[in-house]
Symmetry: C2
Subunit: 438 residues, 2 copies
């Protein structure tokens, strides 16, 4: 028979089982934490009407969409989880309780140019809190504590949640008469780490910004110090702009309350250059960095928006949210060998029966499973060596061998596959198997 080559599309992650176990552990940690803070689960379709997804999209996003017709219907695959959330809240407004706290973990699709570490299908792990008409600013201070909990649980300690407030940037540009140029200016100052201050000044001159304005911009982005020092310096700039001052007030409130929510001082920082896109966010913005691996970029980002679903409804629905791009994060952590988990197998114990009669093996497996121990019985007729090799390759930590002698003596042999240590355990003691496992 002629064969078809079993290919997977480029840009689509497909893992080997041992990697998939690690991936799922990270995904489960994120989901468990979201639930621990009382976020409700949501699952929306991967396919939506193009009209619905495009209500707001445009530009690059639209070009990257997987869009196709089926019959007369113009369909697209979702490119994020925020637009489906907007649709969902507008559609189900009357059936939801506000503030509506939801999490969603799911695949999204963007037909980006394929390159290493870029994915066309990837998981986003989002939480959002949506208010009906209004949403208290204190919510902006709670989300970083969720980020902090997740990355701490994943074994990281040296990471920084950077926060800023878009009103500060918007107010600054307004006060400098640069509202029209703000997109361009942000793009340039965003490069300061890479190209240095002189080149930033040069580029700002090229787009015809006055030197007096440039000086004020540079003064602004060069503000340094502790979080409270930054706030004080912002206040002392003497910029008389309502939006700007509102931004300072909000940023100060959020920064102060983050520590109340349990984020240690060393894990967050005001960074006045963070903007996160241009249209969407209207207040607090977040980015998160692993300090030793800045090249990963932000591993968890988000912010406050004024109006979630304005393209679908007249209801005003302000919200705040964060998102983890899990597929890319996993790819990078795996590449850098930074994934800290304790277990690469699913099964805790492999039972190897040496007799034709499997009843003892099955009885013991049931007993172990009832204690929450993931247990597999090796069911195929192979040599003992092959059976142990199987446990070895799957990195199953324990093997129980049950032969004629063991059944006769009412014991089992438990082998620790890591240390090689073997001990005999009376069958009755298997009711407390956890006492024998590390």
């Amino acid at each position: 028979m002629p064969k078809v080559e079993p290919r997977t599309l480029p840009g689509f992650m497909e893992l080997l089982p041992s990697e998939q176990i690690l991936f799922n552990q990270i995904k489960d940690t994120i989901e468990e934490t979201y639930k621990m803070y009382g976020f409700l689960p949501l699952d929306t379709p991967v396919i939506e009407l193009s009209e619905v997804l495009l209500a707001k999209a445009g530009g690059e996003t639209e070009k990257q969409m997987y869009r196709f017709n089926r019959g007369d219907t113009d369909l697209s695959l979702r490119f994020d989880l925020t637009v489906p959330l907007s649709k969902y809240v507008a559609k189900n407004y009357g059936n939801l309780s506000f503030p509506f706290r939801r999490y969603q973990i799911g695949k999204v699709y963007r037909g980006e140019r394929a390159q290493k570490g870029r994915f066309r299908e990837f998981y986003q792990c989002d939480i959002d809190i949506i208010g009906d008409g209004e949403l208290d600013l204190i919510n902006d201070a709670e989300l970083p504590s969720v980020i902090y909990t997740i990355f701490t649980k994943l074994g990281f300690s040296d990471f920084t949640i950077k926060i800023n407030n878009r009103k500060i940037l918007n107010g600054l540009f307004q006060s400098l008469g640069q509202k029209e140029n703000s997109v361009e200016i942000l793009r340039i100052i965003d490069k300061i780490d890479k190209i240095g201050k002189e080149n930033v000044v040069e580029e700002l001159r090229k787009i015809n910004i006055d030197d007096s304005v440039i000086n004020k911009i540079i003064d602004f982005i060069e503000i340094k110090g502790t979080n409270s020092e930054k706030i004080e310096k912002l206040k002392s700039l003497g910029i008389e702009n309502e939006t700007f001052n509102k931004g300072i007030e909000e940023l100060e409130f959020v920064a102060n309350n983050m520590s109340l929510f349990g984020v240690p001082e060393e894990n967050y920082m005001i960074d006045l250059t963070i903007a996160r896109g241009l249209d969407y966010y209207t207040g607090t913005v977040y980015e998160t960095f692993l300090n030793d691996y800045r090249e990963l970029g932000s591993i968890c980002s988000g912010g406050r928006y004024e109006n979630l679903a304005e393209y679908y409804t007249d209801k005003k629905l302000p919200g705040v949210g964060i998102s983890i791009g899990l597929t890319r994060l996993f790819y990078k952590l795996n590449e850098l060998n930074l994934i800290k988990t304790n277990k690469k197998s699913i099964s805790d114990i492999l039972i190897i029966p040496m007799t034709e009669d499997l009843s003892t093996a099955i009885r013991i497996a049931t007993k172990l499973r009832n204690q929450g121990i993931k247990t597999e019985i090796y069911l195929n007729n192979k040599k003992l060596k092959a059976k142990f090799k199987y446990a070895d390759k799957l990195e199953i930590p324990y093997v129980i061998v049950i032969g004629e002698d063991e059944i006769q003596n009412n014991v089992v042999k438990l082998k620790d596959m890591k240390t090689g240590e073997e001990k005999e355990i009376p069958m009755d003691d298997l009711d407390n198997i956890k006492l024998f496992l590390k």
Copy 2:
């Protein structure tokens, strides 16, 4: 601003949060059970090359595929999880340990005619055990115990796992010289419950089957009795066909071993009319029915196949698997009000702070979360009544109120939202919060 109507496509399930919680509880039970038996996780792309998915498909499946071009590439959304598994095993053969036991829970796509209870996007929850060259028959007896565990955990007891062996049907038709007509004959005898024996005979005559053959077919499908009586009657039919007799032998072995694997006699049954499609399965086949709700059809089906990946590789890869069509199952159970779960909320406790200073509320929330209690703080400035209404609507079982008095006296007020009962708990006792919850 002109609004876009926030619509969801017909045939795509999108649940309200309280329903989504139930859905996820069922999904989690299935996944936890699969893991408890040591199946490895797998996650393959939703989009594949059409060429890969179509290596084997054809007929109805091909017409139902979501297929589209992007650039020059002919893409399709997966319509099941078996074809992606075949591709995966062929592609990664050298990196897998056999028997390869994997589970996959994911969405698949079929552009069926939209009608009530039919979905175009739906979850399949699959397990398969794949052997390299061969796979012992005992594996066929283990899978029903996984089905049994899942449906028992979901609160069902009156269900029947029906088993058969395709070799028996194939052998019977061979011995009757009806190999060519087997598809048509199976289609007709499948209707016996609905149309009765006389009409089956009539329809078989219409396709020109001899009365002597019809009699033998009727004798066969009318075999009744206990499982062992059925086996005895099959043996006594005196059909001298190797395939037929091999089928009886396998069926007897699997049925006998199912009870060894812990499936009670009352939960399984040999049913000689079960065929499960025509090309794919080659040995054991399974279907599962809720006895009081036969109209749901089979809620978990599968079987043994000779060669998983023959369209991609020369390696012989026999396997056995089962699949639960979760979306349709959930829809039906929900419609019939048959979902037995204990909890419709995510949060276990809602903390309502009555003071402007949130530090006590946050400290307590952290303490509860560290004990695994899902805890939400009501963070918005509303009247107490609105806060309680929120807990009520989300069916959060407990509320903790923290006001000035409580902080002064170092206690909290815990309210059981179901009974209305309130008690004061010393803050120190919150280290053992579980003692106070039902």
